[in-house]
Subunit: 229 residues, 2 copies
Amino acid sequence: MGYRTYVDLIRPLLTDQEVVATGMRQELDRVELALNRAWAGETVSLVSSGDAGIYGMAGLVLEVCRARGIPLGPESEGLHITFIPGVPAFAAAGSLLGAPLMHDFAAISLSDLLTPWDIIEKRLRLAAEADFVINLYNPKSKKRDWQIGRAREILLENRQGSTPVGIVSRATREQQEVTITDLNRMLDYPMDMQTVVIVGNSRSFFLGPYMVTPRGYSDKYDLEESEDC
Amino acid sequence: MGYRTYVDLIRPLLTDQEVVATGMRQELDRVELALNRAWAGETVSLVSSGDAGIYGMAGLVLEVCRARGIPLGPESEGLHITFIPGVPAFAAAGSLLGAPLMHDFAAISLSDLLTPWDIIEKRLRLAAEADFVINLYNPKSKKRDWQIGRAREILLENRQGSTPVGIVSRATREQQEVTITDLNRMLDYPMDMQTVVIVGNSRSFFLGPYMVTPRGYSDKYDLEESEDC
């Protein structure tokens, strides 16, 4: 089961499974149908894009379980749910831009439908002050067009206009678009609900066709001290 | 080429490729060897764990290219590098905990080897104030044992002691460990360099064996308004 666009992406992998593909904005219906059939004993896979656990369907499944009082857990007589991780949209976007996510980062959705805008503004301000690389989800939709401009203004209070910015739409899918620009010029490019915008930190730089955030704040990379791989 | 532990994880996928597996703390040697052989015309794959682009090897490759003056890009006569995204450790950890990453989040490494501790403290403070779900990487190592305790103190300035915390070590590998606890008790559990600690936001809750962050700050989930899937 899943949103039609996402189910279509995995059709080549399907064999004889029953497929229930529905339209946008029917998430709750899908989740309730999936839970009802799973509760009746069927094995149901609910398909999400990117990582189902990152701004995806996983949370809604559990929120509905709570609201409906559906018992959970492999050890009880409850419903057994497995969450399968995936490549999050911002990680796919990062790989297409080079290596922008090498140091501490934040992800912020600019959709103010379920979150008051003042909370989103506060997060943008604090994330900029913290010098996080910032991943902006849901930068724009047909009905929401001013949030990305306001977000840029806030980021400019704490970050140079020359800060590298990557704009990736439909990462790894058909009609993928990848742009590397900077905070000054980022509004010149198209964005929609399938776009992730990655804003570098104060150390990020351009290198050839890539955007890079260095791994440390040391000026010299001292490998003897590194403990990560 | 890769760190021995990670190359061993993919041995079942290998056929007749030459394998160069080296020990820890030899990242720079590996990257230089990989770049030298690629520059000589060979096809080289450098293996990282999780997502190579998130606290991984991708950035070091580009930093070394810059330091060595190696030209890059498919359109020039430069070296052609493709970054292949993966499932980041914190996303794998999140999937094992339930749905902790449904809303805005930050990732912060507690390793102060390449980043001054005062920058890390500042990020912890601002991330807590912003009410991000917080993913802590590198919480502890043999030589670094106090940082996670100090991080907890900082988070407690802005978050309840009852805030859900997930501790996942070696996600999806042998000897995987998954613990759900809270800020008060989190230090009672073992952690090392292969551990990710996920600290919930002010709305996160426990549900059966899971940790969940709701998708919105609305008290009622209004599906009619949702635009994401």
